[in-house]
Symmetry: C2
């Protein structure tokens, strides 16, 4: 089986933004409302951060349920890891996800400011200054035969798309406009020269876009 | 996490049949054309029986990809296991799936004619004469915390529905009429008193019906 590089559960607004302007500790999605982008996922039974029983088991749940399915490593951009920009003032910031991050695999954080690896329960964060191809090589080895998740944010996804390293994308279009911030695309047609595309509207109001290589 | 009993990738015709009349070794689906019911699955990259690379990675693939996801055991009816009816003339029949069955967990075959368990690669078949509740108890222990798949056929699914033991169902309606044979239902509305229902048309032409308990 080939080891795929997969974008999963990546939400964008109708106008193509994955986050708004002014990202910070208090507002990880900038001026955009995180609920407008992510509430479809939080409503499902299999959302990794779910702390209460319940949740829907319809279409949207197949996507949250697939989050860890055959995934052996994640690559993420440094701006997904946290709000600190530039050199690390100290090593106190350990991600948004508390003591038990949902990844449960090695995670490779792309940064020009490497720092020592650390482990929280089943997740080990590594900090690497690498090209997309170099990062993918490292993640593939760590994934031990399984696929690699490309975790975002959208700037990181674009970088790997530009290097033509992405095999599949699951992009969730939420019915909201953000207008400014981190833009993934002007529209999904930008990718259809290289990828098949299926568009699947969900009863929850979002639309799941599924891309795989031609 | 609760241990669910899940029906997955179970195909029926538009008029509600899971197999036609006259099932036999040569025609496991009776007079019905198996391709009409199952070609949606065979076209996906993650179909467990796929022997060639390729295949689609759109919506249908999420369902075939979920086949083994968090599943620790399967329960199936004896008529899914094979074409032999009544007492076993000998023990030569070992299932439809060759030397490497796709289940890779314990499989509990419901039969009034128990026979010794046997193992093919990662799959062990057990033959039990049990009520639905009794079979589910055994399968849950074997699944070791993971979910149990209810593998069919439709008579077995109906029996477990009648005993109210099923937690989720994924039924795939194929655009074909079979007219006679093994009937699952007159229509999905029969279950909506007990289950939520989402209906998701696929670009491949089938419709995925997703049920989960109210």
């Amino acid at each position: 089986m080939p080891q795929l590089l997969r974008v999963q559960n990546s939400a964008v607004s109708s106008d193509g933004f994955g986050a708004g302007e002014g990202q910070s500790l208090e507002r990880p999605f900038g001026h955009a409302d995180p609920a407008a982008l992510m509430s479809w996922a939080g409503a499902t039974a299999s959302w990794p951060n779910r702390s209460e029983p319940g949740g829907s088991r319809g279409l949207d749940d197949y996507f949250t349920r697939d989050f860890r399915n055959n995934i052996g490593a994640e690559i993420m951009g440094r701006n997904k890891f946290g709000p600190v920009r530039g050199a690390w003032p100290d090593l106190k910031w350990r991600g948004w996800w508390g003591d038990d991050p949902p990844f449960r695999t090695p995670v490779f954080v792309l940064t020009h400011h490497p720092r020592p690896s650390f482990t929280l329960t089943d997740t080990t964060f590594h900090f690497i200054d690498a090209t997309p191809a170099g990062a993918l090589d490292q993640a593939r080895v760590a994934a031990d035969g399984r696929d690699v998740r490309l975790g975002g944010g959208v700037a990181t996804v674009r970088e790997f798309l530009d290097a033509d390293l992405v095999d599949t994308l699951h992009i969730v279009v939420a019915p909201v406009d953000i207008e400014r911030g981190e833009r993934l695309w002007n529209g999904p047609d930008e990718l259809t020269d290289r990828f098949h595309l299926e568009s699947v509207p969900s009863p929850s109001g979002v639309t799941h876009l599924l891309f795989w290589r031609r």
